[in-house]
C-alpha cells in the first residue's frame, strides 16, 4: 500500500446522557440511534459491511449482552461483527484498521452501556491487576484522586485551579442539549461541594451517566455519496502504558503524548495547536490538565478550543464517552453543531481513554479536507 486510505465519519447519532433511563434497556436505547445514523447517510442496513460495538457485560450485568445487542444493531443479512470490552472509540479504531486493510468500505460503530444497572465503581475496580491493587477495593474515583494529588504536588496547582477549570466546562455544558449536567456553576459554588475523595470534590467529577451512540465510517468513494460534508480522518495514534499505577508517572501521560505525536505525524501537522477544536475524554479537571500538557495545547500563542461540549465533566457515559468525543468533532467540523459550535472549525482532535488514570490513550486528528490524494 503506497498510501493510507481516506476514511471519513459520515453520520453520528447520540441519545442524551441521562442518569437512568427507566423505560428502556441498553439495547432498546441503541436502536433509535442506529436507525437515525443510517437515515442520516441515506443507506439501508445491508449497505453496511462491518459492525463493531464497544460495551461491557459487567456494566449491564447481562451475560453475553453484546450478542443480544445484535438484533438492535441490525443482524440481518449477516455481516462481520466484532465486540470490544472497551470504550466504543476503540471500536472505531478497529473499524478504521479494517477499512485500511481494504476488506470493507463502510462500518457501523456503536457504544452502549446501562451504567445505572450496576455499580461502576466496583465494576471498574476489575480493570486493576488482580493481585496487588484490585483487592484494595480501589475504584476509578479513588485512583483519579491519587493521580490528582500527585499532579497537584508536582505542579503546584490548587483546589481553586481545579474549580476554575471545572467551572468552565460546566458553563460550556449548559449549552449542550445532550449533556447530563446542564447547569453552569461558578468556581465558588464548586469549591463549596464536599470532597468525594480528596482532592476531588463532588463538583469536579461527573455523575454516572448512560446513553447510546452510533457512528458510521465510510471510505473514500462511498463517503462522499453518504454525507454532504464528511469529516475525514487525517491521523490516528494509540498507546498504552503499564497497568500498575506505581510503575508510571501519574502526573504525566506519556502514552497520550506519544499517541498524539503519531496521529499528528500521520496528519502531516507539526503540533496539536494547528487544530481548531479539541475534545478530550477527561473525567475530571486534573485529567484535562494532564492531557493538555501531553498535547502541548495550552500556554501562549494559538490554541484550539478545548471541550466546547463541556466534555465528560457534564456527561460521562461509560463505554461511549470517547466515541462521543469523536462524534462531537464530527458535528463541529461538518457544521451540524447548532448550540456550541466553534465557528469556522476545519480541523479537530478527538481523544479517548481506557483504564485507570489515563492508562490507554487514543488520539484522532480529523479535518474537512481529504488527507491523501
Amino acid at each position: 500500500m503506497d498510501r493510507l486510505r481516506n476514511v471519513a465519519v459520515v453520520a453520528f447519532s447520540q441519545a442524551p446522557v441521562v442518569a437512568c433511563d427507566e423505560h428502556r434497556t441498553a439495547h432498546e436505547m441503541l436502536y433509535p440511534q442506529v436507525a437515525s445514523a443510517l437515515e442520516q447517510c441515506g443507506v439501508r442496513r445491508d449497505d453496511i459491511d462491518y459492525q463493531v460495538a464497544g460495551s461491557a457485560d459487567y456494566i449491564d450485568g447481562r451475560p453475553f449482552g453484546f450478542v443480544q445487542a445484535l438484533d438492535y444493531i441490525g443482524s440481518w443479512p449477516p455481516r462481520e461483527d466484532l465486540h470490544l470490552e472497551m470504550d466504543a472509540a476503540f471500536a472505531a479504531y478497529y473499524a478504521w484498521l479494517r477499512m485500511q486493510s481494504g476488506d470493507c468500505d463502510t462500518a457501523l460503530v456503536v457504544g452502549y452501556g446501562k451504567t445505572s444497572e450496576g455499580e461502576p465503581e466496583r465494576v471498574l475496580n476489575l480493570q486493576l491487576d488482580p493481585y496487588y491493587q484490585a483487592p484494595l477495593g480501589l475504584g476509578p474515583t479513588a485512583t483519579a484522586a491519587l493521580q490528582a494529588s500527585a499532579y497537584m504536588a508536582r505542579t503546584g496547582r490548587t483546589d481553586r485551579d481545579l474549580a476554575e477549570r471545572a467551572s468552565r466546562r460546566r458553563t460550556d455544558g449548559a449549552r449542550n442539549p445532550f449533556a447530563q449536567v446542564r447547569v453552569g456553576a461558578t468556581p465558588e459554588e464548586l469549591l463549596a461541594t464536599p470532597w468525594l475523595v480528596e482532592p476531588l470534590r463532588e463538583g469536579y467529577v461527573p455523575p454516572v451517566g448512560e446513553s447510546a451512540v452510533c457512528l458510521v465510517l465510510a471510505a473514500e468513494g462511498k463517503a462522499e455519496r453518504m454525507c454532504e460534508k464528511p469529516v475525514w480522518i487525517h491521523g490516528v495514534g494509540q498507546r498504552v502504558e503499564l497497568q500498575t499505577l506505581g510503575s508510571r508517572d501519574l502526573t504525566r501521560s506519556e502514552s497520550a503524548a506519544t499517541a498524539a505525536r503519531d496521529a499528528l505525524g500521520m496528519a502531516g501537522l507539526p503540533s496539536a495547536r494547528e487544530v481548531d477544536v479539541v475534545e478530550l475524554c477527561a473525567a475530571n479537571p486534573v485529567e484535562e490538565m494532564i492531557l493538555c500538557d501531553a498535547l502541548e495545547i495550552e500556554g501562549d500563542g494559538r490554541q484550539p478550543v478545548v471541550n466546547p461540549s463541556g466534555g465528560p465533566l457534564v456527561g460521562h457515559p461509560l463505554m461511549m464517552s470517547g466515541l462521543l468525543r469523536l462524534g462531537e468533532i464530527f458535528l463541529q467540523l461538518s457544521g451540524r453543531n447548532r448550540t456550541h459550535a466553534v465557528v469556522g472549525a476545519e480541523r479537530g482532535i478527538a481523544h479517548a481513554t481506557q483504564g485507570h488514570c489515563l492508562q490507554h490513550n487514543l488520539v484522532w486528528v480529523l479535518g474537512t479536507e481529504r488527507r491523501w490524494t
Partner: protein, 166 residues
C-alpha cells in the same frame, strides 16, 4: 527484610460482589404485567406483520419497529424439544424432563417452555400444548406465572405450519 515465605503463594482469593438493579424496559414490563392477567402479549412488525413474543422494539430481520401490541393464545405447538437427563444447578426439576420450543397460536417465533404431564418419550414435534397457569391470586407478573405446558390432546399440527416458527 523479612524472610520469604516457605510455601510459595499459589493463588490469591479475592471475593467481589457486583450488585445489579435491572430495568426490564417498557416492552418487557408490559409483557410481564399481562401475565398476571393470564394474557400473553407480543408485538407486530410494521413491515412484515410478524408477531414476536415476548414483544421486541425492533424486528431484527428487517430492522423496522415492531411496536403494535397484540395478544396471542396461551396454547400452541411444540416446534422442537429436548429431553434433559442431566440435573441443572439451581433448577430443582426431577429428571428427565422436556425443554421445548413452543410456538403460540398467533406468534411467529417460539418461546422456551417446560412440557409436563406427559412421558418425555411421547413428546414430538407438532404436538399441541396449552399453558398451565398459576392459580388466581398467586400470579405476580413474572415468568413463573406459566408453570409449564401440557398436551391438549388435539391432533398434531402438520410440519409446514410450524417449521418456519422454530
Amino acid at each position: 527484610m523479612s524472610e520469604p515465605p516457605r510455601e510459595p503463594v499459589r493463588y490469591v482469593e479475592a471475593d467481589l460482589a457486583l450488585p445489579y438493579h435491572y430495568v426490564a424496559g417498557d416492552y418487557r414490563a408490559r409483557y410481564l404485567r399481562a401475565l398476571a392477567d393470564k394474557r400473553i402479549l407480543g408485538s407486530r412488525c410494521r413491515k412484515t406483520g410478524k408477531v414476536f413474543v415476548p414483544p421486541v422494539v425492533v424486528a431484527p430481520d428487517v430492522f423496522e419497529p415492531a411496536d403494535e401490541f397484540v395478544e396471542v393464545a396461551d396454547r400452541g405447538v411444540v416446534t422442537t424439544f429436548c429431553i434433559v437427563n442431566i440435573p441443572v444447578y439451581g433448577r430443582d426439576i426431577e429428571i428427565p424432563y422436556v425443554a421445548a420450543s413452543v410456538a403460540l397460536d398467533g406468534a411467529d417465533l417460539s418461546i422456551f417452555a417446560l412440557v409436563r404431564e406427559v412421558e418425555p418419550e411421547e413428546v414430538r414435534m407438532g404436538m399441541r400444548v396449552e399453558a398451565v397457569w398459576k392459580p388466581d391470586g398467586e400470579r405476580r407478573g413474572d415468568y413463573t406465572d406459566i408453570q409449564y405446558f401440557r398436551p391438549t390432546g388435539e391432533p398434531d399440527a402438520p410440519p409446514e405450519t410450524f417449521l418456519h416458527r422454530l
